[in-house]
């Protein structure tokens, strides 16, 4: 009888708890409500991955506070924290399938425009000449399809590679290579000096590795055109296959044992610990060079910047903010919010806080670290300017890279098979 009573009590407790669990946290799904003064406050849903250790988190917190101060009595931003870039993209895919994308989206560079543009707002009518200045022509181009604007730029992609000056000196190397033959000769010199030349990775689309791949493809005019092409479907051409062959050589000869299966943090760790001499990445990495919980004191002074051999730099626009508001009132509020995050002041603060290069021309700051200015200068001097694969290639091709790289590294597939695998996946779209 006692047990029956205990069970009944447990049941009651559970029912009580269940009913208590129903409290919805916000009023995000309820209609916009009036404020104290009777002014209507419009709510805007904005999921963001700028949380936790994300380099953009401090910038976003600062700009959100500034926005709330200015527009808080008219617009309420419902921020949804989605930690992890890939988790963010995964959630957007589910929301897209349910036709319930949030008002504002920022993937941090992943291209969702081509797969979701039927639910995104075409922004041409809302961008006047004055606001157009927040991005260069190429920045707007990357965010447009067939003349229709689907994204608002706020930053651009300027990427070369970083090298360790001390390790270069130990191997007897004076300056970064100007051709890929010279680059591989320098790798051999580093190896001879007992230094692992390259940081590489395969997980999460092999960001660091794929930057090297794209830079090798982009050293010719036709390769450069390919690297600026939106949604390429054919990877079976000599420049690409040759570049893949070089990547295979890099995996097998010039990188660390944790490159296969490793993600960005493995590649970065090896560079921070001065176990590798070269890493390809963008200027947002520079702040880590000064973080003494990650690197030895004075590490930043030992780092140099370089453009890729052949005068190649990633120097292009980047996917910005997409908007999917469904009614005119919310759309107007969302545009106000997104335009605030993309304006000159926000871009300048982003440059200062994160090191990300503004999409607007002419923004500078005395607070910027010297290495970042070097990267910008390299971008301006590049003979071939290319865009990165995450912005332009089909999402399933980007995913496929992580599957194919380990096979390539282990010699289980040839460069031709790698190119064919990407082409086959692209053809499924």
């Amino acid at each position: 009888m006692k047990k029956l009573l205990a069970m009944a009590l447990a049941g009651v407790l559970m029912l009580g708890a269940l009913s208590g669990c129903g409290g919805q946290s916000g009023s995000a799904d309820s209609p916009s409500s009036g404020g104290n003064s009777g002014t209507k406050v419009v709510e805007v849903d904005f999921p963001t991955h700028w949380v936790g250790v994300s380099v953009n988190a401090p910038w976003f917190q600062e700009r959100l506070a500034a926005f709330n101060e200015q527009y808080g009595d008219q617009i309420k931003i419902n921020v949804e924290e989605i930690a992890g870039d890939q988790n963010y993209v995964d959630k957007m895919k589910v929301l897209y399938s349910s036709n319930s994308l949030p008002d504002a989206i920022n993937t941090g560079g992943y291209n969702l425009i081509d797969s979701m543009k039927d639910q995104l707002v075409v922004l041409n009518d809302y961008i006047d000449d004055d606001f157009q200045k927040v991005g260069t022509d190429i920045a707007w181009e990357v965010n447009s399809r067939d003349g229709q604007i689907y994204g608002i730029p706020y930053t651009r992609q300027v990427i070369g590679y970083f090298y360790n000056k001390d390790l270069f000196a130990q191997a007897g190397i004076d300056k970064p290579a100007e051709t890929w033959d010279e680059f591989f000769a320098q790798c051999d010199k580093l190896l001879a000096a007992g230094i692992t030349p390259l940081s590489m990775d395969t997980a999460d689309s092999g960001w660091v590795t794929s930057l090297m791949l794209g830079a090798m493809v982009g050293q010719t005019d036709s390769g450069e055109a390919f690297m600026n092409q939106n949604l390429p479907t054919d990877y079976n051409f000599p420049e690409f296959v040759d570049a893949v062959a070089n990547i295979q050589k890099m995996f097998q000869k010039y990188t660390t044992s944790d490159a296969v299966g490793g993600a960005y943090e493995n590649a970065a760790s090896n560079f921070f610990m001065e176990e590798t001499a070269i890493i390809a990445n963008g200027p947002w990495m520079v702040s880590d060079f000064y973080d003494e919980t990650l690197v030895e004191p004075g590490f930043a002074d030992r780092v140099g910047t370089a453009m890729f051999p052949g005068g190649v730099m990633y120097n292009s626009g980047k996917i910005g903010f997409n908007i999917a508001s469904k009614d005119p009132e919310t759309l107007e509020a969302t545009l106000t919010f997104v335009k605030f995050l993309s304006n000159e002041e926000s871009q300048q603060r982003m440059l200062e806080i994160t090191g990300d290069i503004p999409s607007m021309e002419g923004i500078t700051s005395s607070e910027v670290k010297p290495l970042i200015n070097e990267v910008i200068a390299n971008g301006d001097a590049a003979a071939h300017c290319i865009n990165d694969f995450q912005s332009l290639w089909y999402a399933n091709v980007v995913d496929e890279i992580s599957i194919q790289y380990p096979l390539l590294a282990q010699g289980k597939i040839t460069p031709e098979q790698f190119a064919k695998a990407l082409s086959d996946v692209a053809a499924k779209n």
Binding site: K3, G22, N87, F272, M273, D291, E292, V295, E296
Partner: protein, 276 residues
């Protein structure tokens, strides 16, 4: 009692020592790493910290709402487990004991959901939760988790009910017990070991589940622990010290509770097999 030869004793200690090492080693490593700086973790993963600093714990609490997520995980996992055990055990009992037209079909129908990939369930469940107003609530997650564990629990419970001698139930009926009393007073306690197995699996499923927690919630007030660990790594940055500090805060309470209650847990699991 005859004393074992020294060789076998040594071998036994080595064997046990090996299992202790692989069981406790990773946990100790996590706790130790939570006191190291990122640089120390990267440069010498197995070396002890040069100085004990709680900065990792401060950073972890600063970066992610861990305690809130922890509380949500406890509530959601416990309640989904209770719900699953109570509801599924009743269904399993009927299906195990009473043959009726369509009982095999119902068993098959309930079991076949085990074969549906989680990814295929995401969108329909999201739409259902939005429609019935349970999106972004703990109740929504509790119901979904209880349902996700249904086929596994059904298999376990049904086989345990079938192993209980039917004569015990007949005796209860002869003594005047009704259907519900027979189930709750006679059968339920006898199946305790099977119910405990199902409950543990259900609890672990709910405790570790990530994708539904991500898709079916949007506010930090209702989110669960698996989401918290993503706050410490992103595509271009990471904080291992904070991540290990967060892991320590997450696993230590569970270990302490298990150590304190292990006698009761073991007793309750053994008890069911001999009682009745």
């Amino acid at each position: 009692m005859r004393k074992q030869p020294a060789f076998w004793r040594t071998l036994r200690f080595l064997f046990l020592g090996f299992f202790v090492l692989i069981s406790i080693g990773p946990l100790l490593w996590i706790v130790m790493s939570s006191f190291k700086t990122n640089r120390e973790i990267l440069s010498s993963a197995f070396a002890p910290p040069t100085s004990f600093s709680f900065s990792g714990y401060e950073a972890a609490l600063d970066l992610a709402p861990i305690f809130q997520f922890y509380g949500n995980s406890v509530i959601i996992s416990v309640l989904s487990t209770l719900l699953n055990v109570i509801v599924v055990s009743m269904a399993a009992y009927v299906l195990a004991r009473h043959k009726f037209r369509g009982s095999n079909f119902i068993t098959l129908l309930l079991s076949v959901s085990l074969l549906i990939p989680t990814a295929a369930l995401l969108m329909p469940i999201y739409k259902i939760m939005m429609t019935i107003g349970l999106f972004d609530t703990r109740t929504g997650l509790i119901l979904v988790y209880a349902a996700l564990g249904l086929p596994t629990s059904l298999f376990i419970f049904k086989s345990h009910f079938q192993s209980i001698p039917k004569e015990l139930e007949d005796a209860a009926y002869i003594d005047g017990a009704g259907f519900f009393r027979t189930f709750f007073v006679v059968v339920f306690p006898l199946a305790r070991s099977g119910l405990a197995t199902g409950a543990i699996l259900q609890f672990l499923t709910s405790w570790n589940e990530f994708m539904f927690a991500l898709i079916l919630t949007k506010s930090t007030k209702v989110r669960t622990l698996p989401l918290a660990l993503n706050y410490f790594t992103s595509q271009f940055s990471f904080n291992y010290t904070a991540m290990f500090a967060a892991l320590t805060m997450v696993i230590l309470p569970s270990i302490i509770i298990y150590v304190l209650l292990q006698e009761q847990i073991t007793t309750s699991m053994v008890e069911g097999s001999v009682k009745g």
